[in-house]
């Protein structure tokens, strides 16, 4: 069952990811990215990380991608797409080389992954991945990161405001 679900979703995700980087239009890329993120949420569910799956959808697909779309619209990027890589022939060679490099890296990583002898997974309790479990450890063992993350968001907020404000006083 897991197999049946995993491989199609995995394939889809990879395809969508490729779609992101191969699409000429930024809006198309964004769409593909949303799709990929939703697919990943499925994979998280498959791994019983329900909480994270939900967050994935809410934060990523919901918030972050909306922000992307917003900016794309704001900047009205359609016109500039033609200047992108596909229209430039002279960079084709470099692109191929880069792709070769990427494939090389991939090959190496996968090679290493399969080098590791991984035991079969542990027996999972039912509570694995639930909001309660994750929340508990988030507010006990990982309370500090949780708090620090708030500082991070604060900093990001200030920064975004400072930079994006149309006019500084």
């Amino acid at each position: 069952m897991e197999l049946l679900i995993f491989y199609p979703i995995a394939g889809l995700c990879v395809a969508l990811a490729l779609g992101v980087i191969l699409n000429t239009s930024p809006v198309g890329s964004a769409m593909c990215l949303i799709g990929m993120m939703l697919g990943l949420a499925g994979i998280f569910v498959l791994q019983q990380a329900h909480f994270i799956a939900v967050l994935q959808i809410i934060i990523y697909a919901g918030a972050i991608m909306v922000l992307f779309m917003f900016v794309i619209m704001l900047l009205n990027l359609k016109q500039t797409a033609s200047a992108d890589w596909i229209s430039r022939d002279k960079n084709l060679f470099i692109t191929i080389l880069t792709s070769a490099l990427a494939v090389g890296i991939l090959y190496k990583i996968v090679d290493i992954i399969f080098m590791a002898d991984l035991d079969s997974p542990a027996e999972l309790p039912d509570t694995f991945g639930t909001v309660a479990t994750v929340g508990e450890s988030l507010f006990t063992d990982f309370v500090l990161p949780f708090e620090v993350a708030s500082l991070l968001l604060l900093a990001a907020m200030i920064g975004a405001v400072v930079l994006a404000k149309p006019k500084l006083d």
């Binding site: 069952m1 897991e2 197999l3 995993f6 990879v14 990811a17 490729l18 992101v20 980087i21 930024p26 890329s29 964004a30 990215l33 990929m36 990943l40 994979i43 998280f44 791994q47 909480f51 994270i52 994935q56 934060i59 918030a63 922000l67 992307f68 900016v71 900047l75 990027l77 500039t80 200047a83 992108d84 890589w85 692109t95 880069t98 990427a102 494939v103 890296i105 991939l106 990583i109 992954i113 399969f114 991984l118 997974p121 542990a122 027996e123 999972l124 991945g129 994750v134 450890s137 988030l138 990161p145 993350a149 968001l153 900093a155 990001a156 907020m157 920064g159 975004a160 930079l163 994006a164």
Partner: protein, 104 residues
């Protein structure tokens, strides 16, 4: 026929594939937004590994981690997009190759 679980290695492989696609995106694209999206792909790819390891080890650290990653991603996106907007104000383009004042 489709019994059994997906081995960890396959999750990791998926993660790796997406990660490398992200890298490739950064390397070949010139549109700032798309490059940025590629980076998001990379972060997402890592999340797969994190969850897979959690699943495999029966721990929750990975989930916390991925939660933090999402936080960070959100923060980065907000700042990053703000930068892009600020940039666009001075130079209405998103082609990375045109940001080439600083070199050598």
């Amino acid at each position: 026929m489709f019994e059994g679980t997906v081995p960890l290695a396959h999750y990791l492989t998926l993660s790796a594939v997406l990660f490398v696609i992200g890298i490739a995106g950064v390397l070949v694209r010139r549109n700032v937004i798309v490059v940025f999206m590629s980076i998001e792909i990379m972060l997402n790819a890592v999340n797969i590994s994190l969850i897979a390891f959690d699943h495999y080890l029966n721990l929750s650290n990975g989930q916390i981690f991925s939660f933090m990653v999402m936080c960070v991603a959100a923060a980065e996106v907000s700042v990053g997009l703000a930068i892009i907007i600020a940039l666009h104000r001075n130079k209405p383009t998103v082609n990375l190759d045109e940001f080439n004042l600083l070199k050598w």
